[in-house]
């Protein structure tokens, strides 16, 4: 086929309209969410003392941290789905959860400690946390990659890592309502490790499936 013929064929297909990447990312996440919620409802569930926990600012901080990861990651992953887009100028958004955690750790350190530091750090759920967050992330990660496949990222591994961050952020939001460890030290350690695992998976899978 010569190039003029190909051009004529492409022009004949001009009427085809693809949905926006954001629409497919939303669809992917909405289809995946019930699977993550099913894992949550089957194995975890909301902690029984949630009504009292809501009065604890460190319980609420967990949601601020996880959502301040998930929402910027969604925004950046959509930005990166354009071929000419760069990470430059956008990466600072990912420092939001880090900053929040730093402030929370600082304010906890200034209060009279309810528990010794090692107990706050290790908590009661560290192993569950490292298992549950990645497990609930995987359906969301698949949904996110499905949506982002529709884009044209210049760095597929980077875009995949962002998909990992956003699904880990969403899964950690669910997990935060189950976990009774509210210390920012616990969150900074175990949530971060769980997020890193999911991000690495996202980058590895993304480098293959997000190539266009």
């Amino acid at each position: 086929m010569d190039t003029d013929q190909l051009i004529r064929t492409l022009a004949a297909d001009n009427a085809h309209r693809a949905p926006r990447v954001g629409a497919l990312l939303t669809t992917g996440l909405l289809v995946a969410a019930p699977f993550s919620i099913l894992i949550f409802a089957t194995f975890l569930g909301v902690r029984p003392d949630v009504m009292t926990a809501m009065h604890n600012p460190f319980f609420d901080t967990k949601f601020a941290v996880t959502l301040s990861l998930a929402i910027p990651a969604i925004i950046i992953s959509l930005h990166l789905s354009r071929p000419e887009a760069l990470m430059r100028g956008w990466g600072w958004l990912l420092l939001l959860p880090v900053g929040l955690l730093a402030v929370a750790i600082g304010s906890e350190a200034m209060m009279a400690p309810a528990m010794p530091m090692t107990m706050r750090l290790v908590g009661k759920n560290s192993r569950w946390c490292m298992l549950a967050i990645p497990a609930m992330s995987l359906p969301l990660l698949a949904g996110a990659l499905f949506g982002l496949r529709h884009g044209a990222p210049s760095r597929p591994a980077q875009a995949g890592a962002l998909a990992g961050l956003l699904s880990a952020g969403l899964a950690a939001t669910l997990y935060a309502s189950h976990c009774t460890d509210d210390s920012p030290l616990f969150v900074a350690t175990w949530y971060t490790i769980a997020t890193a695992i999911v991000t690495a998976i996202g980058a590895a899978v993304g480098s293959r499936v997000l190539k266009y």
Binding site: M1, T3, D4, R8, L10, A12, N14, R82, P83, G151
Partner: protein, 181 residues
Amino acid sequence: MRGREDEWTDLMRSAMAGDDAAYHRLLKAVTPVLRAAARRGLARAGQPPDQAEDIVQEILLAVHLKRHTWDSEAPFAPWLFAIARNKLIDALRRRGRRVFVNIDDFAETLPGETPQETASAGEVTAQLNTLPQRQRDVLQSIAVDSASIKDTATKFAMSEGAVRVALHRGLAALTAKLRDH
């Protein structure tokens, strides 16, 4: 140079608004620029320039299938060159070379130095033959026989909608095969 790129942006806006002729003109207009850049990339990698047409066709297919990622408020050229650069790097890597492709390779092309001929390429043709029968028939009818969608529908006793679906699926499958082969 600015004038040329503004013209591309205008054509692409018309194309996205449904003007098939504008889209055709745009693809014709960018092809010599892509071809010159592909030749330069191959030359720098020590590869024969006769594979340039394969790369041009791969870029055109990617442009077509990813055009919904173009923001109609933004200029068209940076978007186009980003896709072209990505595809050129991929193509050279597949041929076993790692080269740095400068974005200026595209932007600095002067209209005078661009060869105008259209050339045939082997890869698209080879992959075309691996498509399902119906998609291949439709693509061949429109590409090689220059038939319209309507004529193609009549020829194969299909609805126009079915021809459009087969056409788009065929192009998408072709692109996937070129990327993964």
